[in-house]
C-alpha cells in the first residue's frame, strides 16, 4: 500500500539532487513603533531536492518568520531567496501568489480546510486558482482523495471528518499542484499520537518518493524522521545537523 499512496512526478525524479531552496544573507526586519525588530538577522543555507528538513527553535527565534519567507507569504528586507532557481525575493504580491500557487504545498497545524466546501472541493482550491478545467481538476482531486485513503469521503464536509482525516485532506490539497516544496507548519500539533504517526508516515513516504519536505515543529519525534535539522535562535541559525557525509559549507548563520 505504501508505494501506492502518492506518486512522485518528473519534478522529483532527477537522479542527482539539485538546489531547490537557496537562501543567501536573508534578513527580515519589522518596524514596531520606534524600534526595529530583527526577526531574521542574516541567514544563508541551501536545501536540495528530495531532502526532509525540520526547522526547530523556541518562540521568537525567527522560525515563523523563516517559514513565511520560505512560503513566499512575505518579502525579505534584504538578501536573496531562490526557489527552484527563480529569485522570488523581489517579487510583488501577484507574482508571489503565482509562485505559491504553482510551487508550494502548505500544510497547517489546524488543517485550515474551508468549511463550506466538500473534501473534493477543498482539494481543488489550488487547481481553481491555477485555472484548471473543472473536469480535469475534479478527476485529479478524486485521485488524490483516494490516495490519502478518503475516496469514500469525497463529498463530506470537513466538520464531518476526524482531525486525522482533515489533515489527510490538507495533504492531498497541498499535493494537488505537485509542488516543489511541501511546507508543513506543526502538522501534528492538533493530533493524538496515533494519528500523528500516521501523518508523519505519510510525509515520510512523500519524501521517499522524492518530494522535498520542510516541517516546522517543536516536537523531537517529528525532528527525528527528518534527515536534516535546522535550529534557530535569536534570528540566527543555531545549528544544522545533517547526515554524516553532509557538506558543512551549505549553511551559515
Amino acid at each position: 500500500m505504501r508505494s501506492e499512496i502518492l506518486t512522485a512526478t518528473s519534478r522529483d525524479t532527477q537522479s542527482t539532487p539539485q538546489p531547490i531552496v537557496q537562501i543567501e544573507h536573508l534578513q527580515k526586519h519589522y518596524q514596531m513603533g520606534d524600534t526595529i525588530v530583527r526577526a531574521l538577522e542574516d541567514i544563508s543555507f541551501t536545501m536540495l531536492t528530495g531532502e526532509f528538513w525540520s526547522i526547530m527553535g523556541p518562540s521568537g527565534s525567527g522560525k515563523s518568520t523563516l517559514l513565511n519567507l520560505l512560503g513566499c507569504l512575505d518579502q525579505p528586507t534584504d538578501g536573496l531567496y531562490r526557489l527552484g532557481g527563480i529569485d522570488v525575493s523581489e517579487m510583488d504580491d501577484d507574482e508571489l501568489s503565482e509562485i505559491r500557487n504553482e510551487r508550494i504545498g502548505f500544510i497547517f497545524q489546524s488543517f485550515n480546510l474551508i468549511q463550506q466546501l466538500t473534501v473534493l472541493e477543498n482539494i481543488e482550491v489550488p487547481l481553481f486558482y491555477m485555472g484548471w478545467d473543472p473536469t480535469d481538476s475534479r478527476d485529479r482531486a478524486q485521485e488524490l482523495a483516494e490516495k490519502v485513503g478518503l475516496g469514500d469521503r469525497a463529498g463530506h464536509r470537513p466538520r464531518e471528518l476526524s482531525g486525522g482525516q482533515q489533515q489527510r485532506v490538507a495533504i492531498a490539497r497541498a499535493m494537488a499542484n505537485d509542488p516543489l516544496i511541501l511546507l508543513a507548519d506543526e502538522p501534528t500539533g492538533n493530533l493524538d499520537s496515533k494519528t500523528e504517526a500516521e501523518i508523519l508516515a505519510m510525509l515520510q513516504e512523500l519524501n521517499e518518493q522524492g518530494k522535498t519536505v520542510i516541517v516546522v515543529t517543536h516536537e523531537l519525534k517529528v525532528a527525528e524522521i527528518a534527515n536534516w535539522n535546522l535550529s534557530m535562535r535569536d534570528g540566527l541559525i543555531d545549528a544544522v545537523r545533517g547526515p554524516e557525509d553532509s557538506d558543512r559549507s551549505r549553511w551559515q548563520g
Binding site: N68, G71, R100, F106, F108, N112, V125, F128, Y129, G131
Partner: protein, 431 residues
C-alpha cells in the same frame, strides 16, 4: 475569467451564503422589499396616470370644449325681478368662432335638456342633447346598433334620436329599441341608433366638471331640439320653479392642422378663444376646457410622481445596500482564516475581490429577483381588492433589477477590498 469560472464562483458564493441561511435571508429581505416597492409603486402610479390620461383623451386632444356656466348672482336685484336667468353661449358665438378663428375646422353646438324618457310604462332618467351629426364624428362613440344622426335628420327637423346604452337598457330590457318610439316628456321620438357602453372613463371624475356622456343621453338633431323644447328651461326644485334661458350648453370645437403643428394650433386657438369670449361674455358664464392642457398637466404630475417614487425607492434600496454591506463586512471578518488559506494556496487579490463581490451580487440580485416576483404579485392584489388600475412597465422591472445589481456591486466593493488587502500571514493566524 471565463464564464465557467464565474459560474463556479457564483456557486461558491451560494455555498458560503448557505452557511448562514437566516442571516443571508434577512439581509436579502432589505433588497426584496426595496425592489418590490419600486415596482409596485411605479405600477400603481402608472395605472393612475394612465386612467387620467385615458379620460382626458376621451375628450379628444384636438378639441376645445366650452361649456355654459351659470354665473355667480352678482346682480341680485335684477335677478329677483325677472325669474328667468339668462346666460350662456349663444348661436352667435358658434358662428363667430367658426368664422374668425382660422384653425377651427368644426364647431359643434350642443343643447342639453334634462327630461325623463318613457317607453310604454317604463321610465328612465334622461339627458336630451340636441346636436349635429359632426358630434359623432369625433371618434369617441361606438355604435351598438342602428345609425348615427344624419344631415337629413337635421335638415328635416326629424323626430329621431340615438339612445345611450344605460337608457336603452332601462327602457328596452327585452326588445330591440331600433325603430321604436319613445317619449321625451310627452313628445314622441323614434330611436334610430343605440350607443355601445364605454369602459370606465366617463363614470369617474376627471377633476373637471364638464358635461359628460353618462349612458342616459338621448341625442337628437339640434333644430328638432329647438322646435320642441324652445330655449326656456324650467327646473323644478324643492317646490320653486326656476327658469333658465340658455341657447347652447356646449360648444365643441375641433381644430385642424397637420400632425406636428397640431399642439401649437390647439394652443393658438385656445388663446384666441379666450380673448374672444372675454370680450363678448363679461359675466364669465362659460368655461373653457382644453383636454390637451389637461393632458399636459397630467403628464407633468406623473413626472413629479415618478420622481417622488423614485427617490423613495432609491432610499429603500440604499438602506438595503447598507444592510448588505454590513453583513458582508461581518462575513469578511468571520472568514479571515478562509481568506488567508486561499491567499496561501495561490489566490491573487483580484480573486479574493471577485469572490466577495460576486457573493454580494448574488445576494442583491437574488433579492432583486424575489423582489420582482413580489413586485408583480402585489399590484395584482391591489387591483383585485381595491379596483385601482395598475400597470407594470418593463422599464420598472429593468430599472429595479438593474439598481439591485448596482447596489450589490457598489456596496460589495469595500468589503471585498478589505478582504483582498488582508495580510495573508495575519489572516492565517486569525482565530
Amino acid at each position: 475569467m471565463s464564464a465557467s469560472r464565474y459560474w463556479r464562483t457564483v456557486r461558491l458564493g451560494l455555498k458560503s451564503l448557505a452557511l448562514h441561511k437566516l442571516r443571508s435571508g434577512l439581509t436579502v429581505l432589505g433588497i426584496v422589499f426595496g425592489v418590490c416597492s419600486v415596482i409596485a409603486m411605479l405600477s400603481i402610479g402608472e395605472g393612475a396616470s394612465w386612467e387620467a390620461q385615458e379620460q382626458i383623451k376621451a375628450l379628444g386632444s384636438t378639441n376645445i370644449i366650452v361649456d355654459s356656466v351659470q354665473p355667480p348672482e352678482n346682480q341680485s336685484a335684477s335677478a329677483e325681478r325677472s325669474r328667468v336667468v339668462d346666460y350662456g353661449l349663444r348661436y352667435k358665438d358658434a358662428e363667430r368662432i367658426q368664422e374668425t378663428i382660422p384653425e377651427v375646422s368644426v364647431v359643434i353646438p350642443v343643447r342639453q335638456i334634462e327630461k325623463d324618457l318613457w317607453h310604454l310604462q317604463r321610465r328612465s332618467r334622461g339627458v336630451v342633447k340636441g346636436t349635429l351629426p359632426y358630434y359623432f364624428g369625433l371618434g369617441r362613440f361606438e355604435l351598438q346598433e342602428g345609425r348615427y344622426l344624419t344631415d337629413t335628420d337635421v335638415e328635416t327637423h326629424a323626430n329621431v334620436g340615438v339612445l345611450g346604452s344605460a337608457a336603452a337598457r332601462d327602457l328596452f330590457p327585452f326588445e330591440n329599441p331600433i325603430g321604436k318610439l319613445i317619449r321625451v316628456g310627452t313628445d314622441p321620438f323614434r330611436v334610430v341608433g343605440v350607443l355601445r357602453e364605454k369602459a370606465a372613463a366617463s363614470a369617474k371624475d376627471t377633476g373637471s366638471e364638464i358635461i359628460e356622456e353618462t349612458g342616459y343621453d338621448f341625442y337628437i338633431p339640434l333644430p328638432t331640439a329647438q322646435d320642441w323644447f324652445g330655449e326656456l328651461i324650467v327646473k323644478v326644485s324643492s317646490g320653486s320653479r326656476d327658469m333658465e334661458r340658455v341657447e347652447l350648453h356646449r360648444l365643441q370645437i375641433q381644430i385642424e392642422g397637420d400632425h406636428e403643428n397640431l399642439e401649437a394650433a390647439v394652443d393658438r386657438t385656445a388663446s384666441a378663444l379666450r380673448t374672444m369670449l372675454e370680450r363678448h361674455h363679461p359675466d364669465v358664464d362659460y368655461r373653457i376646457t382644453v383636454p390637451l392642457e389637461l393632458l399636459r398637466s397630467a403628464r407633468a404630475t406623473k413626472r413629479i410622481f415618478n420622481i417622488v417614487l423614485g427617490s423613495i425607492a432609491g432610499i429603500s434600496l440604499l438602506v438595503g445596500g447598507i444592510g448588505i454591506m454590513n453583513i458582508m463586512l461581518a462575513s469578511v471578518t468571520e472568514r479571515t482564516r478562509e481568506i488567508g488559506v486561499r491567499r496561501a494556496l495561490g489566490a491573487k487579490r483580484k480573486h479574493v475581490i471577485s469572490q466577495f463581490l460576486i457573493e454580494t451580487v448574488v445576494l442583491s440580485v437574488g433579492g432583486g429577483l424575489l423582489g420582482i416576483v413580489l413586485g408583480i404579485i402585489i399590484p395584482q392584489l391591489v387591483t383585485a381588492f381595491s379596483d385601482m388600475k395598475t400597470i407594470i412597465t418593463p422599464f420598472s422591472l429593468i430599472l429595479s433589477f438593474g439598481i439591485s445589481g448596482l447596489v450589490g456591486v457598489l456596496f460589495g466593493i469595500y468589503p471585498a477590498w478589505r478582504a483582498a488587502n488582508m495580510d495573508p500571514i495575519e489572516a492565517l493566524r486569525h482565530e
